[in-house]
């Protein structure tokens, strides 16, 4: 393909094309045959809810994952991207949603990681690397010492380093997955200016963000994903926020809604002015003055974007991280410095967000995982009563409907949905008063999602208070009695899911109660 000398009609030349890309993980189809074009010198913005398939497509385009079927074209020729090194050699760079920096290395070493400038084939040319790092940082208007360790930077600065690294690679296609999630307002402006410079130089940019308005601001071209399929495309001139949201929402493909109670019991969990410090940056508050009452039988949903403080709040309630100030009252009893085990005893238990990292012991069997938290209740004298444990585990497994060969099966032999049911079963076996669930349906298929919500509704009916966090609007509206929208650690607004619309929730989640000041803290 010949490259035109001028940028007279930049919107017409396609750098990269995906044809019929499909990707399945086991039986879950994350992408269902997507056709997609990336054009030279333009910003293509991808919209879609969590799980709509955006990130999967980006992973395929950048060589992180390979598609189950379909093919990729670069400059009109078919390519197979074996891995990220292969992709970046072809000029495709990605800024990941999760930061992928080595905290133990300096800013400079991170930027040149994997493509070190070498003198004489042996020695790393540190002077030149430092100089180029300074130039890159200057372009991003970030005054950092190239020799500072990344561990000593705050999150926003780390993100700038991540961006600098992508720029250093001289990319032709630059994919940005949520690049602004940790940036302050002024940093976002700088980023947008850099994006304009890059597009003017002919770089193609693919941009993903949950901040719809912000993303619209820089879009030349918009693409909307829903349920693993590309559902709409539009040029900037023809689209607005309403167009984006209505396409994102579509028809309710998954009607999850279980039957919910409408009458509730007494308040079981009462939170007053809770503040929690950010574990990675203690100067910042993850949760800032949060108050809430949960009644017996009630399903309360915490809806918000990534980084809204939902996880931190739930982890603080479970005793994983300390509550800075404020009071937690469980069934009239003040909870202050109790350990995780004591809180479980009192009836406050968490189903964590990251099943693999925090929920399961991978080396243990299904049965041992189920009984782990409630183990002490099977102890007779010195030892665990085997029949007692077996009966309880069997009952719990069938109660939460885990599909497994039996309690002795390896936990890794279960699908994601069934593993999640094991985690929930483990927590239920401790006879909780309040059930806390963080993203209970993350990474599981639709059928299992409905089952998990049915489970939560059933437990609420049995008199538990349920507080769960989600970043999917559909879940917030269908599976809860009350939706609390959180942003920047605070309650933005409260909705009744029977009357609220998806649009209202989405817009509210992007708002903040006040502008963040002193971003350089």
């Amino acid at each position: 393909m010949t490259i035109p000398g001028t940028r007279a009609q930049p919107s017409t030349d396609v750098v990269m094309r995906a044809i019929g890309i499909a990707k399945s993980y086991g039986a879950t189809q994350a992408l269902k045959g997507v056709d997609f074009e990336i054009r030279r010198g333009t910003v293509t913005v991808l919209f879609g809810e969590n799980g709509a398939g955006k990130s999967t497509l980006m992973k395929i385009l950048s060589g992180v994952e390979s598609p189950t079927s379909g093919l990729l074209e670069l400059d009109g020729e078919e390519v197979v991207l074996r891995n990220t090194v292969d992709a970046s050699a072809r000029g495709i760079a990605i800024i990941h949603q999760e930061l992928s920096l080595c905290a133990n290395l300096s800013v400079r070493d991170n930027i040149f990681m994997g493509r070190e400038l070498v003198r004489g084939g042996i020695v790393v040319n540190e002077r030149q690397e430092t100089a180029e790092t300074l130039t890159l940082l200057e372009r991003l208007e970030e005054s950092l010492n190239p020799k500072t360790l990344v561990a000593d930077l705050r999150l926003g600065q780390q993100q700038v380093v991540e961006i600098a690294r992508a720029l250093a690679g001289e990319a032709r296609v630059l994919i940005m997955d949520e690049p602004t999630s940790a940036l302050s307002g002024s940093e976002v402006e700088v980023l947008f200016r850099v994006i304009h410079e890059l597009t003017a130089a002919g770089v193609a940019i693919v941009y993903i963000s949950h901040h719809l308005e912000e993303a619209l601001e820089i879009a030349d071209h918009a693409v909307v994903f829903r349920d693993g399929a590309l559902v709409a495309t539009g040029e900037r001139a023809d689209i607005d926020l309403d167009w984006v949201i209505s396409n994102m929402v579509g028809r309710s493909a998954d009607d999850l809604s279980p039957d919910l109670l409408t009458e509730f019991g007494d308040v079981v969990l009462s939170l007053r002015d809770i503040t929690v410090a950010d574990p990675t940056n203690p100067a910042r508050l993850s949760v800032d003055g949060f108050s809430l009452d949960v009644r017996a039988g009630e399903l309360v949903c915490l809806y918000g974007l990534m980084g809204a403080g939902r996880t931190e709040l739930l982890e603080a309630l479970a005793g994983r991280v300390p509550v800075q100030s404020g009071t937690v009252t469980l069934k009239g009893r003040l909870i202050t410095r109790e350990s995780i085990a004591q809180r479980i005893d009192l009836g406050l238990a968490l189903v964590p967000e990251d099943r693999q990292r925090d929920g399961l012991v991978q080396t243990m069997s299904v049965g041992e995982n189920v009984s782990l938290a409630g183990l002490l209740s099977f102890v007779k004298g010195l030892w665990i009563s085997t029949p007692g444990e077996r009966t309880a585990v069997q009952q719990e497994i069938s109660d939460v409907r885990v599909k497994t060969a039996g309690p002795a099966a390896a936990i890794t032999s279960l699908s994601g949905g069934n593993q999640q049911k094991v985690v929930i079963g483990k927590v239920l076996l401790t006879a909780p008063e309040v059930l806390l669930l963080d993203e209970p349906t993350r990474g599981i298929d639709v059928g299992a999602k409905a089952e998990i919500f049915a489970l939560m509704a059933r437990e609420a009916e049995r008199g538990l208070g349920v507080l769960f966090a989600t970043s999917e609007v559909g879940e917030a509206l269908n599976a809860a009695n009350r939706v609390i929208v959180m942003s920047k650690g605070r309650i933005v607004r409260e909705f009744d899911p029977r009357t609220a619309t998806r649009e209202e929730l989405m817009i509210a989640s992007g708002e903040s109660t006040d502008e963040e000041t002193g971003a350089g803290a």
């Binding site: 399945s24 993980y25 086991g26 039986a27 879950t28 189950t68 079927s69 479970a318 994983r320 350990s339 995780i340 085990a341 809180r343 479980i344 005893d345 968490l350 964590p352 990292r357 925090d358 929920g359 399961l360 012991v361 991978q362 080396t363 243990m364 041992e368 009984s371 782990l372 938290a373 183990l375 002490l376 102890v379 010195l382 030892w383 665990i384 085997t386 497994i397 069938s398 409907r401 885990v402 599909k403 497994t404 060969a405 390896a410 890794t412 032999s413 279960l414 699908s415 949905g417 069934n418 049911k421 483990k426 401790t430 298929d445 639709v446 059928g447 299992a448 409905a450 089952e451 049915a454």
Partner: protein, 378 residues
Amino acid sequence: MTVTQPRPAPAGDQQPPRAPRRFSIRGNDVDLGSILLEGRAFIALIVLIIIFSALSDSFLSVNNMITMTKHVAYNAILAIGMLFVILKGGIDLSIGSTVGLSGVVAGVLLQGLQLNSLDVVLYPQVWVVVLCSLTVGTLVGFINGTLVTRFGVAPFIATLGMLYVARGAALLISNGSTYPKLGGDPELGNTGFNLIGGGRILGVPTAIWIMVVFALIAVFVLRKTPFGRWVYATGGNERAAELAGVPVRKVKLRVYMISGFCAATTGLIISSELTSAAPQLGETFELNAIAACVIGGAALTGGRGNVRGVLVGAFVIGFLSDGLVIVGVSTFWQITIKGAVIILAVMLDQAQQRIKRSKNAALAAANKSSGPPASPAA
């Protein structure tokens, strides 16, 4: 479930294409390959016995078997303690020094404790001596555990430090010399120490009995008590265990104390059998204990391993060393062969884990719960 793609292969580049020979045990289909792999340490032990008894007439004799098993017992008791630490995901390098220290403590007490201010020499009874030695060993473990839990020192470093400190303490107490003649004196009422390692019950050396008792207790603790389950959980996934209410710190502290206790026991047994306590006793013993655990299938990453495997591992190492001596292989070759066996064991373990992982991944893909929620699991 129908899969249109030829093979989604969720977790592996190479699925084993072979058709394994299958037969059935207790209704479960098992293939010969994985049985051989599963019981490899045991098979290795049998192979060793066959080879050595072919090469030497005396190898299979009752006396030789008892002697070799007694040697195995020293290492097995250490390895049982080490297993607790390894299951938790740690390592204890200090046990060899603890062996020496506990022997020296016993030695100094049996020789008589000089109290200068009162101008008397104290001769404690043997059970007091034993108790003191075991307490010192457990204390070394307590220090290890405290360093790991309270001060966040990596287990390797903490126990490496204690390896030197405990050895130094043994040398300081004994001033570098060996305590001879620990038999005691009937007039002083402190006889009987030599029975711990030298005595026999029903014709079998006490060391072997102690190994059996320790093994049984360890099996019980690991399989039947909440503490045992917590050890496995902490080693398997510490974060998940903590969130499930497992007292992770307490578990960590205890496993090091158990390891120290076992090491002190071994120190007592050996110095009793030798009826002398040398401060150098137990050097590199920790490496044999780790080797026994690894050959027995314990994962150094934690969460996987059992007492049965560790015992078989200890027997493999013990019979291999003694057998090579009996057959007359040079010391240099003995060391080399032992190293090769350890590496081979770990390689086979990796192969087994890989097969297990791909099997489980295939099962997981087949176990999708996409069915209607109306069908409860039977």
